[in-house]
Subunit: 233 residues, 4 copies
């Protein structure tokens, strides 16, 4: 019997939240969940419809993209997941979708401005949009370099993946991550909602200002600071 039953189940359940949250149609998304002790992660098989996906279809892969267990081909984005798990030891799950509003900002090649406290409750900066990859890299190890593209964007903007758990890839779409697979899905839903609100805000008032620093700080601190008083402790 597989020793990854629980990991597969966690990965399966996180994947099934994507259609439930309205974040995917067809097979436009994938979630992975890592087992740090074993040095492997579980990921959705490529091109399998959510309506027929089963826990046992989930594929187990190591950080170098070798299939450890599973008879199906893993997501075509597997190398990007592997790259991020290798680089970022703190994360436990990764989600990729083509959700409507997040993709639209990615196609517009623009960061999503921090316009309000809904945004500041979770992150203190604009949501970064990485510029499209150079042609040379695209023709090479594309999905691996997508991971590099994410790292480079965070480095250039001087932001930390521990504080900002989401990114848009220019012309492509969003990747999000978190301490667990479920948290990475939460972040994908949050991103989609922030993307929609920011879109509407600029349609209503093209000169809408970014949220001022005092409010950014207050809302983030009350949820995540050392004296946080949001939620049950």
């Amino acid at each position: 019997m597989s020793k990854f039953l629980e990991l597969k189940r966690e990965c399966y359940e996180a994947n099934m939240q994507l259609p439930e949250y309205g974040l995917v149609i067809f097979t436009f998304g994938n979630v992975s969940a890592v087992d740090r002790k074993e040095g492997v992660f579980a990921i959705k098989p490529s091109g399998v419809d959510y309506s027929i996906l089963k826990p046992e279809d989930i594929v187990i892969v190591d950080y170098d993209n070798n299939i450890v267990e599973g008879s199906m081909r893993p997501s075509s984005d597997t190398k990007t997941h592997a790259f991020l798990y290798k680089e970022w030891e703190e994360i436990g799950g990764i989600t990729h979708t083509h959700s409507t509003y997040a993709v639209s900002w990615a196609q517009a090649q623009m960061d999503i401005p921090i316009f309000g406290t809904t945004h500041a409750d979770y992150l203190t900066t604009d949501i970064p949009c990485a510029p499209p990859m150079s042609d040379e890299l695209i023709k090479g190890n594309y999905e691996h370099m997508t991971g590099q593209q994410i790292l480079d964007c965070f480095q250039e903007k001087g932001i930390s993946h521990k504080e900002v758990e989401m990114i848009l890839l220019g012309n492509h779409g969003p990747f999000t991550w978190g301490k667990t697979a479920a948290k990475s899905v939460f972040n994908s839903k949050l991103l989609e909602e922030l993307a929609k609100m920011a879109y509407l805000t600029r349609q209503i008032n093209p000169q809408a200002p970014r949220l001022k620093d005092a409010l950014i700080d207050k809302h983030w601190q009350r949820k995540h600071g050392k004296d946080a008083y949001y939620g049950q402790s």
Copy 2:
């Protein structure tokens, strides 16, 4: 046995309408219900998902923010609710959400113009948007001062909370209230719909005029005036 069973039930049911009406995702909202005789109000616990919320989780708090009954931490917005109950003796319930269109107008920092009779059936003025708080106040007793911010806005604009049962807080989102908790939820749904219609109206015709006074007056009077003929008496 708790003497607040009925109050908790009323508060619970009003809270559960928020996801049903599509006004919240995750934990982005809270409703409270007051018991004027006992001088306390019931409010949603902080950060608890609607899918697992139970009537017995509801927290009982007095107007000075002391927990009277309940083992969970109340909503992080509790001080704003307490402030308003103390100031406005007529109100029986308060709702706060991050609903999409209302937040977008709040982020645009603009009042929602009264464009039609759907709006005039319920209130005779634009829906006010309070300017963001000063940095000094934000760093202080923030949620308490949010109540003050609401009061100040109504005073400056010369409108009454008995006639206008809703406000947008700039960069944040909507608060609504009413004679009961259920009425405050109704007002949140109404506000979201008016916010969407006003958004579309201005997209179709940026020069759309405000509703003229004769129509404002007629529609409000037929629903709320002394010779009102809307609804069952």
Copy 3:
């Protein structure tokens, strides 16, 4: 036993389609159905929520607004229905809603241009938007004059209520009608869809041209002309 049981049932079922089609929230709409032989019509009671509406709540009214049967107060828009039934002998049902996109065009005070064949399949002109009523009339017999406003608009534009079964009232919202109550509800849903498509069309291309005459004629003729070949005969 009431002789209007069947009429009430028809009216009730047409009303219940409004929330099913997503055309109303709360009590924002009403449908009536006429019995030409008896000279009366059935209409939704005022302010009753769709979730609790029952067939026996439906009120029977004559063309002069006298209640013929029913213990509840009829819709506050009853006089408009009565006016139209009196003037237009061919119609069998009337629907009024505050559906989102139709109201937004009404608030923008603009006709909905005929942009495509979806529109031409049902009517050959722009959907008219009547200008707001004069202040004098508003202060008078408002709902009665709303019927007059509809008649005047059709006369000024030289269009017939037999061919164009819908109108927007400036700053208010849509009225639609048809041979039966169900057909008037169909027209309300159709109008909402055409209003949304026309909105999007102009957002994509502000210079989008109206549909040319040859296509208007072709699509209308193939559905409604003497050699129509759409549907089952």
Copy 4:
């Protein structure tokens, strides 16, 4: 017993996906499925609501529009389907809808630009919008010439129906096709999603650039090229 039972069933099931995917209201759509060996295709009857459609209602027609089996009148668009089956031997199914965003681009008379990898995963060019037909042709054999209009558009733009399985007809709406009826429905849903994303992209950034060639090529190749690694082989 009919020898077309299975063909009718395939056609029926594909048609029923249209309301499930939110692509049609009322009777605004039709799907057909071909049997190449028999030289006939199955198509939805005209004007029959999806809620009452049954497999046995499906009509069997040959490529010259003769009814081979069935008691109902076939879709008013049947001649367009027949034309395309005759011209394009590779296709197995055709779908026509009036879905909201696709129709809006058709009414705007604009191609849908290829803005991102969601688009490039399926086709490498803009989605073509055919200019409206000349008045002379409209007055003639309209639905037959609609097929010709599609062919002409592909020829003028130098694109192949084997690679681009969708088109917008100016002022009208989308036609899509594929190896099976189900695939043609998939393409209709895909088109609607791409149309919505492209709409939002241009609203956010009117200067949004088209996707660059290297990314177009990469995404298409990884799904459809000879070394494709998407999906299960």
